[in-house]
Amino acid sequence: MNALKRLRGANNEGILLAVIIVLVIAMAMASPAFFTPSTFFSLVRSSMVPLVFALGVLLVMVSGGIDVSFAAIAIFAAYSAIAWSSGSGIDPGLFGAFLIALVIGALLGGLNGVVIARFRLPTLIVTLGTQGVFKGILLTYIGSRYISAGNLPPSVLAAGDAYLVNIPGAGYLHAMMVPVVLVTIGVWWMLKYTVFGRGIYAIGGDVEAARRVGIKVVRTQVLLYMMVGALAAFGGIIYVILGKNANPQSLVGSELDIIAAVVLGGASIFGGRGSVLGTVLGVLLVQLINNNLVLVGIPSTWQRAAVGILLLAGVGIQALATVRASSRSTAIHEETVA
């Protein structure tokens, strides 16, 4: 029983892994083209940016909120950094570009944090609002011009062709995988082993109790949203590097894939629950479906609907399980239908 429970994982990570394995087997059976290195490499490549975003969404969800402004922050920060560089002709270097973007991202995220923490407003509605503001400011005051590869700072452009492993004909592992993996480990470590990280879980578990034991809730939340903003910016720059262009119109609109991945990864929208491992698996699942529907003969127009169905199925099963669990216990004082 206990071994089974451990296999299942605290947030059903085990089940998710099983689903992924089943899906992989099914896809391999449906299409011989599936089980090739190139499928694997493209899965990794397409998961990198969503994973970074998903880590940010995970942090917010663990603290009990939901963030839909991360994509706007990502492209705002990345595009601003690139546009400034290409406009001024100064190449800040790869590290410099990251730094500028991270600072911008942290500032924008901090703005979210201040409004949410200081005034205790619903996070979904606030971030919907700031998403509009960020995107609007970017396109109106910073730039609406598409920056093509030729106009990217040379260091950023060069980073686009840096590979860890390059197997001609089969694909490559991009060098940007290194920072992505490091950041993932960093977030995992922070959530698990720092007082700050445990504090995020505590706030998500019970804000009032957190305040009473002396956690500085407002400060923690503001810091958290700054961190999430910086993560978004980090993802934004990697997106630019991988795509070798900077398009201010991109990214915004793809939020749902990320949120779906995090929710499927076992994070609770009510806060206090969620893990980095689950999130990684969730991202892989969504990308697996997004990338390979066509391979198994489903037209690509189904992509969006498929993610929607996946999300609904995932949360539906969770919700039904909660309803059953609470009807078994003697009291349902908390309405499951909120």
């Binding site: 409004v115 998403q131 509009g132 929208i269 009510f270 539906g316 239908v337 909120a338």
Partner: protein
Amino acid sequence: MSDSRDNALTTANRRIDNSVSSLISRIQVKRGSGRMVILLLVTFAFFAALRPGIFLNPVNLQNIGVAAPEIGLLSLAMMIAMLTGGIDLSIVSIANASAITISSLYTAIATASGAEAAEGMALLIIVAGLVVGLLCGAINGLLISVVGITPILTTLGTMQLFNGLAIVWTGGVTISGAPAVLTSIGRSTLVGIPALFLILLAAAALVAVVINRTAIGRKIQLQGANAVAARYSGISARRTLMGTYLVCGALGGLAGILFLSRNPAASADYGSSYVLLTIVIAVLGGTNPNGGFATVAGVLLATLTLQVVSSGFTALRLSDYQYAIAQGVLLVGVMVFDQIQFRHRRRASSVTTSQGAVPAAPGSKEDGQPQ
């Protein structure tokens, strides 16, 4: 066993001491529509003064009356969802699904048996659009009330689903064609007032009556005010939530019909900026996003205000993006303002509570709304 003990006496006394504190997390300030009337007049006067030539032009005013209805209907739907403490992010996708249904049915019949036959069946086709709206609403209602998924996740998922199916259906391109009846309604006016605007007024009146004057409407309000107390008063959450999202679906379907009345073309990604806009309007109109309070008049006035701002921005040659900035600032600003005002008021009103004490911290968990 332990749960019921947990919920019994343990919490009762604390709840009494904190009764007010749980409320600070609700940003509920009872606002009359008076504030919205003033805001509408001020924005109107502002733009009229800045660009009288363009803004006060009858064509511009007429345009406001034609563009506002579809947004107004969607905002009313958002308001009703918020009234129960939920949200309907899928509402624009529902409207598009309805518009696409009508447009593609019409085109299909027109190509198969000629335009005349299609026009003859116009009413049936339009009803089909409404039915699709209701169906989408029923799916939301089912997932929320029976399966028990929170409204945010449900409608986030169905937004994607409805939108995704619309893409599958249309192949991602704009399809054109709509019954001529619709186009003519879109163009007709009654004593200078666009027919579409009258449709909005009629729908709003109906919604107001349902919410305030019928048993189900009052139950919807109570459900949003306190879901647990509603349950203990014999109000069935299933029925109220189902009803709520069905009404949302119907309003979405109607909005889809208005889309086509203005422009006989439908696409899966029409009105992608409307989700934010409808939330802005609902909140500006005095809806409490945590449930329990909303007024139809407030939402109507907020719709007009936003439309005035939109057309004012056009008159000033400001872009859609600047309009988006204005929406976001307005949304966050209104909520912050209400929150400050609410805290202020609460401090003053705690005089009348038996506690005589204001707890500093809100139990934001207590309303269980992860927004």
